[in-house]
Subunit: 223 residues, 2 copies
Amino acid sequence: MRHFSVELEELNQSLLQMGGLVEQSIRRAVQSVVEREKEVAKQVMRDEERVNQMQLEIDASTTRLLALNQPVARDLRRLTAILKINTDLERMGDLAVNVAERAISLANRPRLKAMVDIPKMASLTESMLLRSLDAFVKGDADLATSVLTSDNEVDALRDAVYDEMVALMQREPMAVPGAVDLMFVARNLERIADHSTNIAEDVIFLVKGEDVRHHHSHSVPLA
Amino acid sequence: MRHFSVELEELNQSLLQMGGLVEQSIRRAVQSVVEREKEVAKQVMRDEERVNQMQLEIDASTTRLLALNQPVARDLRRLTAILKINTDLERMGDLAVNVAERAISLANRPRLKAMVDIPKMASLTESMLLRSLDAFVKGDADLATSVLTSDNEVDALRDAVYDEMVALMQREPMAVPGAVDLMFVARNLERIADHSTNIAEDVIFLVKGEDVRHHHSHSVPLA
């Protein structure tokens, strides 16, 4: 049997590779919304299959490592964290597909003027994913904590998008379907950010051995 | 040390208790929307704390059982399934709170006529949760499969709600904020149903030892 630490390192690498793919899908999905690029949106949909496949592989490898090595303490916590992060990444991939579907719907409608806060939300959301994975690799609780702070900013941007879209729909009935699409784009980005928050909380638990879930100050999402 | 099977049975009971509490919150949240009952909505918010507490306890017990007993094969699969179902239930509790928040917002606005499909979605969604937990307890793959079928019905009802709300918003600009609330109620119910689907898939994996995730036919959610 190969050494446990080697296999754990390989598992870490697979998780980061999956994270990179998910990050690419989020970036492309937002690009397809902003630039009305249907082909880019379709690429995001095609890549979902690979994300799903990676989730199954990482799940299987983690379960196998648990069964064969019966790790305790820190190694056990690390493996259960990988199981959870894996689930979060796969859901983020699904949410990127949701955004890409809205992009196709939007590209088939007249262009809406308002879209100021979507790119801002998107870049903050991507940064949260990158930081949460980086924090996991480095075991950096401070970096993970910075992700929790950003989540409140993302929630504020989502509220701004909602308010803007409600006002637009009341002013221009023709704009309703497109405005609904943009509201759901904002909602999906906010949920992607929530998954980065989950990852960050797992990292803090891993590093400090304390459970911060349900404790940090967290604006309640209204959706 | 107490016998593993006794502790596993206690863990099952805790999970079912949490499931019952989450089911109650979903039911009350929908009631608060339909009957414009702000007090009922606030009860859902207060109960979230208990759901969160139960999640932490079940997580801790499961991790302890994993560490102390180092189970293999079926017992290991059962424990990793409990970890996942626990996460799903906690998220469903969060989504019930989202619905309750929309209920309060709706109760402060003029009553909207349209709300036909929300109670239908809600009762199907509750039934999916009950069936998925029942399937887990009984190890019943057929019952779990019935949950996957219902998920497609829930998605169809959500589409009907969306279409109705878009038409309403285009007709009556004053109804926009309330219609947005109802769209998000439908969206949250659909996501609650998705979590029951996750649980059902875990049950099928547990019983049949095969991974049905990403394989069953599943209408793609547009949101």
